[in-house]
Symmetry: C2
Subunit: 184 residues, 2 copies
């Protein structure tokens, strides 16, 4: 694997455990076994690194939605919860949006824009999936699509953070069990 890719993988890890301001080029360079000056060959600035991270998150989310596009809405949402539960299991990671919301006001403009774009993609997909569920008669006909999508996104984001706080990923697991109950 090339250095750039390895650097991005490490950055993703540190972003979700330490926050965007919690790791530095030094952190990544040390983990790679190269000098931090060499990292600047791959990413001119930390903003560049942040943007690359966000683009990668969006891309892999898109790939994931394509991979499961033939499933029922119910199954899709269950799979979505599994994705986030795996984060909680992996060193109490929290979701990238959650990380960057806290630091939001300190982020470069382009990162803010890219983060919003990522969020809107997730949100749109979720709304479409909820609509699919209504059509499949798996979810209630009068389901408030917008409000439900927001509630799911917010509670997943907050739930991961609460699980970290308490140090028990089971908090999040128990949590997810109830999230989809109110849809039908």
């Amino acid at each position: 694997m090339d250095t750039r890719t390895r650097a991005l993988n490490l950055s993703r890890h540190y972003l979700q455990t330490l926050g965007f301001n919690g790791f530095s080029f030094q952190t990544i360079a040390d983990a790679l076994g190269i000098k931090k000056a060499s990292l600047h060959y791959h990413f001119a600035s930390k903003e560049d690194l942040g943007l690359a991270l966000l683009e990668e998150y969006e891309k892999s989310y898109k790939d994931w939605t394509r991979k499961i596009e033939s499933l029922s809405a119910q199954k899709k949402l269950e799979q979505m919860l599994v994705v986030f539960y795996k984060m909680a299991l992996d060193e109490n990671k929290i979701c990238p949006s959650g990380v960057l919301c806290s630091d939001f006001n300190t982020l470069p403009k382009n990162m803010k824009k890219q983060l919003l774009k990522f969020h809107e993609f997730q949100r749109t997909w979720l709304k479409e999936t909820l609509r699919q569920g209504v059509q499949e008669k798996a979810f209630r006909k009068d389901l408030n699509i917008d409000a439900t999508a927001d509630l799911l996104l917010a509670s997943i984001q907050g739930g991961l953070q609460m699980a970290r706080l308490r140090g028990e990923s089971e908090t999040f697991k128990a949590f997810t069990k109830n999230l989809l109950k109110n849809l039908s």
Copy 2:
């Protein structure tokens, strides 16, 4: 008002807008019109400042619960949502727990402990209030107290962050309208 109190007020503001690592002694000193060395007279270290902040958050939350203790459970929860909605209205602030969850792994041990204590206080109060609502027959008899408390806390925390991301505090307002619907 004495300098220490003014410093704490400013710190609360910057914590909830810029994050714990997003402001420095310099930031507070500038806003106060004194030198940052002088701040160290009031707070020996930034950890000290952070602990004082957390103690103050807990104290004011306790005072607030005492002030509304004679209300019905339904009214209490409505008031709680108002508290958080006011945060969203005030420069898209997010809640202190949400801020510190992202930076959690970079916090001094004592701050982690104090944050957990604050969280457990909020959670316990919320569970008691839900139980009160069941007794008052305002909420369903079979309400899952633990799961509901966690869902409310997580979605409020995540909801404030989402509102900041989108730059519209109305996101959070719309959101809260539906939060209490599933209780009865």
